[in-house]
């Protein structure tokens, strides 16, 4: 049963610390998405990749957030330095050009104190 995996599942850190979240897309999928979920904003797209190339990261605060795909099996989202307002659940999803469904990971719940 192929699934998107994310690590860590929970992260508590102090303001100013670096946070790295990892995602393993489903094997064979060529699109990867990062979303942030908050009560107020719902699901916001932060960045997405197609064939490992970043296509849109306009939803991401550029001064502190960065997203990369070092290889086809790993996507990372990094926050440096983290701030309390970054506290949220971060979801990774993967998909394919062949169909229009996105498959979501379990999310990383981030708390920045």
């Amino acid at each position: 049963d192929a699934r998107v995996t994310q690590t860590p599942r929970h992260k508590v850190t102090e303001m100013g610390q670096e946070v790295t979240m990892r995602c393993q897309p489903i094997l064979g999928h060529n699109t990867v998405f990062w979303y942030r979920q908050t009560m107020m904003q719902g699901l916001e797209l932060l960045a997405y990749f197609r064939n490992r190339a970043p296509l849109d990261d306009s939803g991401m605060p550029k001064d502190r957030f960065s997203a990369e795909m070092p290889d086809a099996t790993l996507a990372t989202l990094k926050i440096q330095p983290s701030e309390p307002r970054d506290s949220a659940v971060y979801f990774c999803a993967s998909g394919s050009d062949s169909f229009n469904e996105q498959f979501f990971g379990p999310g990383t719940r981030l708390t920045v104190l």
Binding site: G42, L43, L45, D56, N100, G107
Partner: protein
């Protein structure tokens, strides 16, 4: 700019009652609309898409281009329908989705 609006953050209905979760969108092109659902302690998952014109778990949604709406409906709510529901829009030729803010549905026994 494209946008998806779900006007209700919270919606409670009694078991057996009809339920309608509202979704409106703004997009001048040909939209592709989806409903995603997140049950408690589960992943966000696709519920249905307008192009399939299917009924999933008793839910249906019709794309109304005149009213730019894609409301999700079920004639008789069940307790297991309690979840967070997100409406999503995909633009022409794009891979990414624009999500609404979500509606938390609670079905009261």
């Amino acid at each position: 700019a494209q946008r998806v609006t779900q006007p209700e953050k919270l919606l409670s209905v009694f078991k057996g009652a009809p339920v309608e979760l509202k979704c409106n969108y703004s997009y001048s092109g040909s939209p592709e609309l989806f409903w995603y659902v997140q049950y408690s302690r589960q992943r966000l998952q696709l519920l249905l898409r307008h192009i399939s014109r299917e009924s999933i778990k008793g839910f249906t949604a019709d794309l109304n281009k005149g009213e730019t709406s894609f409301h999700l409906k079920k004639p008789f709510a069940q307790e297991e329908d309690s979840a967070m529901y997100y409406c999503a829009l995909r633009l022409d030729g794009a891979n990414n989705l624009f999500f609404g803010t979500g509606t938390r549905l609670t079905v009261i026994p």
